[in-house]
């Protein structure tokens, strides 16, 4: 991460909020801190951590495009998180604070460090960690649950817009020690949509992300994801089955378009 951006954020937050940079995504930089934006720190006995997601000015793009994108994405991400929080079964981080003027949101910290230096517990690292035994039950269970999360999301007419294995964070299940509960993060490109096209594209983006990042095992992985996805729809009765067929049909069409595209050099 460039020091310039870190300085910019530190200045915005003041010296009262010490920050630790953890990642630089394409549109946001992410920090952790132990200071809550508004609850007095004396209440933070558990030394809880928080996520600060800051969308820095992107100097490469025209200021008008930049401003409108930053505001739009900060707001839409906050709004979607807030709505999704109220939907039973969907796992997303809790929104703590939102400053749309500076493209800054505060979120609950999720996940942990994986053992043996495999890094943070997102799906990408988790799958890499399991590469020696790629089809074990825990992998299957986890991918199935990821599929379910996306199923729930789509069933409720929300689309993620940027589904990749790094945008899925795994949280240890406190009741069943070895199981993971997938949480969806990073809704910057998210939207509410009832269009099958958007859902089909969402699934296609994820499928491709799995193929490109976890190529050797992608077929099985995608199969499990779709299983979890489908079971959510199937549990919704006749209407669910009908909608599932529509989404999957469009998904196949989007995929086909992808292949056809390579026609012209």
């Amino acid at each position: 991460m460039s020091q310039e951006i870190v300085d910019e954020v530190a200045k915005y937050l003041t010296s009262n909020i010490p920050i630790v940079p953890i990642s630089q995504g394409a549109e946001a930089v992410v920090f952790t801190t132990t200071i809550h934006p508004y609850i007095p720190s004396s209440n933070n006995e558990k030394k809880e951590k928080f996520i600060i997601k800051y969308r820095p000015t992107k100097k490469y793009r025209h200021p008008l495009i930049d401003k409108s994108l930053t505001k739009h994405r900060t707001l839409s991400e906050s709004r979607i998180l807030s709505k999704l929080y109220q939907i039973d079964g969907i796992k997303v981080p809790k929104l703590i604070a939102c400053d749309p003027y500076n493209g800054c949101i505060w979120l609950e910290f999720l996940g942990e460090d994986l053992p043996n230096g495999f890094g943070f517990s997102n799906l990408k690292n988790f799958l890499w960690m399991n590469a020696k035994d790629p089809y074990n039950d825990c992998v299957k269970d986890t991918l199935y649950k990821v599929g379910q999360q996306i199923g729930l999301l789509h069933w409720n007419d929300y689309c993620h817009g940027d589904l990749t294995s790094s945008n899925i964070v795994l949280v240890k299940d406190e009741d069943y020690g070895t199981n993971w509960i997938p949480h969806l993060i990073d809704f910057g490109l998210g939207s509410t949509s009832s269009l099958v096209e958007d859902k089909g594209v969402d699934l296609y983006v994820l499928e491709r992300a799995i193929i490109s990042t976890h190529s050797s095992f992608a077929d099985k992985y995608n199969e499990w994801l779709i299983q979890g996805f489908s079971d959510v729809y199937k549990s919704k009765g006749k209407q669910g089955n009908k909608k599932l067929n529509e989404v999957l049909k469009r998904f196949a069409e989007v995929r086909l378009r992808g292949r056809k595209r390579s026609m012209i050099g």
Binding site: N16, Y38, P40, S41, S78, L81, K94, L95, A97
Partner: protein, 177 residues
């Protein structure tokens, strides 16, 4: 009495006092226009977090010159509301003639001590001062009213006050955007 400072805006100190069994709400209300204190009815306040988050929001608006009301104090009250209607927010969250449990907010001015504020608040409110904490608040809120005002989804059935509070904080943070 609680004194709160938002880490990002250390120049502002806000005092929060909670009273139960208030008997003179009607009188307080009649003087509200020229008061330097904001009075909230605790009926819609589920948690301390909810109030803190509104103060944070108000200070953000203040910092970027987006205040919709006249003062930071009134903005704090306005920021509790999930809608952008100012009059409506004051009516719903402000003190009512029959309010029993009241929360007083004050932005401390330069040189003002917590004792000064304490005295000032006690002068105005006839009631029992208790600590502003989640435990005390939890018996004061009206869950049906809260759900209605914050337009929570019907299917959203929070098991705990913490979960309910979270939904309110969300509404506060995304209001008017």
């Amino acid at each position: 009495m609680t004194l709160i400072t938002i880490p990002q805006f250390p120049e502002y100190n806000v005092s929060i006092t909670l009273f139960k069994d208030v008997t003179n709400s009607k009188v307080i209300r009649s003087h509200i226009a020229d008061s330097k204190i904001a009075f909230l009815d605790a009926k819609l306040i589920v948690s301390t977090e909810q109030v803190y988050s509104a103060i944070y929001k108000a200070l953000i608006e203040n910092k970027y010159n987006r205040l919709r009301t006249k003062t930071i104090l009134s903005e704090c009250l306005f920021c509790l509301s999930p809608t952008s209607n100012i009059g409506d927010a004051f009516k719903k969250f402000g003190i009512k003639d029959d309010s029993k449990n009241v929360i007083c907010l004050k932005v401390l001015s330069n040189g003002e001590s917590l004792d000064d504020v304490n005295k000032e608040v006690l002068d105005v409110v006839d009631g029992t001062m208790i600590e502003f904490n989640d435990d005390n608040l939890k018996d004061m809120y009206d869950v049906t009213l809260v759900r209605k005002i914050y337009k929570l989804e019907k299917d959203f059935q929070p098991a705990t006050t913490t979960e309910l509070s979270r939904a309110l904080v969300n509404a506060i943070q995304i209001r008017g955007l």
